[in-house]
């Protein structure tokens, strides 16, 4: 008798086939379950890291705020209060109207500078281009700054965007001046109906992208761009560093 006609052989075939199919089905279910579990865990971990990052950014925001207060206090103390005290002494000792006039003008200029530092004047009526130009001008005494602008729209930017962009630019220029050892800073501003883009480049020594630790300044830039829902990228070039700030569909913020 041929083997396949033997019921025992057929029974064995059925048992083997069922066992193999069972192993395959069980393995696929287990694999799907493990995959799902891994994906859920990865998502949870991602959310946790995101929250942690946001918390750290907020903490740094507070720290930066405190630093800024200290700087303003020092500014007031060292320049304005110093000048006013000297004015008072001069007034008590010997009254010289020319000198007092000069000291009063100096004090007013200092107060104006501190006030402008805190909040640019006429923010509502001034364009981002003019604001940037205002920031750059005093720096030109210390370093060469090339400013290019390409504004292709009449859309007025809200104050929040103007102020955040100027703060970031101030931070970037200060960083370049302090750390990069650059001789030229190039600033490009481009604004269209849909896109607001600011590119700041320098020809300094750049930085090591593998260095994970970000300074307070960079974290502050990140926080500001996060606040605007914008994108930013700071990367080393062959010579120097480039920082790109990008805001898409900014009209939604108006």
């Amino acid at each position: 008798m041929e083997k396949w006609l033997d019921p025992k052989t057929i029974m064995l075939w059925i048992i083997i086939a069922i066992t193999v199919v069972f192993i395959l089905v069980f393995s696929f279910i287990r694999l799907a379950y493990l995959n799902f579990k891994q994906m859920a865990e990865a998502q949870l971990e991602e959310s946790r890291l995101k929250l942690e990052h946001q918390k750290k950014l907020l903490e740094n925001g507070i720290l930066v705020q405190e630093q800024e207060r200290t700087r303003i206090a020092a500014d007031l103390h060292d320049s304005l209060i110093g000048k006013l005290t000297s004015l008072k002494l001069k007034h008590q000792l010997d009254y010289n109207s020319d000198e007092m006039d000069y000291l009063l003008s100096e004090s007013i200029a200092d107060a104006r500078r501190i006030s402008h530092d805190l909040s640019p004047p006429m923010l509502e009526f001034i364009s981002l281009y003019e604001l940037i130009d205002g920031i750059i001008t005093p720096w030109k005494k210390n370093i060469a700054v090339d400013f290019y602008h390409d504004v292709r729209t009449d859309v007025a930017l809200p104050n929040s965007i103007k102020i955040q962009f100027t703060r970031v630019l101030q931070e970037l220029i200060t960083n370049i001046y302090k750390h990069a050892g650059a001789s030229v800073i190039t600033v490009h501003l481009r604004q269209s109906d849909r896109l607001l883009c600011l590119l700041v480049k320098d020809d300094g020594k750049g930085f090591d992208p593998n260095q994970n630790k970000k300074g307070l300044g960079l974290q502050n830039i990140e926080l500001r761009m996060l606040y605007l829902n914008g994108k930013h990228s700071i990367k080393p070039l062959r010579k120097g560093t480039s920082a790109l700030l990008l805001l898409e569909d900014y009209k939604n913020l108006i």
Binding site: K3, W4, I16, L31, Q38, A42
Partner: protein
């Protein structure tokens, strides 16, 4: 041309595909990864088995013993492929299982050497395919959560191996029925097996070409 003649001609596609694969593999040999050199060895062994079984069958009539011989070689090649190329950590359990399966195949090789086709019921191919399926599943379990860091080609090859050997296992299980049943129905099964095998060989050729 009858269906049987067509099927007979179709079987010549198998050595043709294997020969093409060997040609591609030899042409790109230097740039092949070890895993793909093993695949090249596999199609080389398959071609040798195909040609020698045709010759043996032509001379002596019964070439069924080649199924067992090929199972042993296939098992050894895929064990090396998985344990040394695919697995991050070698599996002792699967090594032991390969050893047991190889022992069983060698035992069958000697015990079924002279048996008549009517009594030929080998489980070597089933055993071989079963161990390879376990290798493929173990590989997937090792890679859970690491799919992003794993090469897609490797995952695709593993999936193809799993699919091919699952079908092969189920096909070669009732081998005695497929040899001896008088109905013409069995030729449809052989045809299906041939098509699946040809697709698998073509896939291996493509993998070798891409890897090289």
């Amino acid at each position: 041309m009858t269906f049987y003649q067509f099927l007979d001609y179709l079987t010549y596609l198998s050595p043709a595909l294997l020969l093409t694969g060997i040609g591609i593999g030899m042409y790109r040999y230097k740039s092949l990864a070890l895993s793909h050199k093993m695949l090249l060895l596999y199609i080389g062994v398959a071609l040798c088995t195909d040609l020698s079984s045709r010759l043996y069958g032509h001379l002596f009539g019964n070439n069924l013993i080649f199924i067992i011989m090929f199972s042993l070689l296939e098992l050894i090649i895929f064990t090396i492929l998985y344990q040394f190329c695919f697995f991050e950590k070698k599996s002792r359990t699967l090594f032991s299982l390969t050893f047991v399966a190889s022992g069983f195949i060698v035992w069958e090789l000697f015990s079924l050497r002279t048996i008549a086709p009517q009594q030929f019921q080998s489980y070597s191919k089933v055993m071989d395919a079963f161990v390879i399926i376990l290798f493929a599943l173990a590989y997937f379990f090792q890679k859970v959560g690491k799919y992003k860091t794993t090469q897609k080609e490797e995952l695709r090859l593993n999936a193809a191996i799993l699919l091919f050997f699952s079908l092969h296992l189920l096909f070669f299980l009732p081998i005695n029925f497929l040899i001896n049943v008088s109905s013409g129905l069995k030729f449809y099964f052989w045809m299906a097996n041939l098509v699946v095998t040809l697709i698998f060989y073509a896939f291996i050729n493509w993998e070798i070409w891409k890897n090289g």
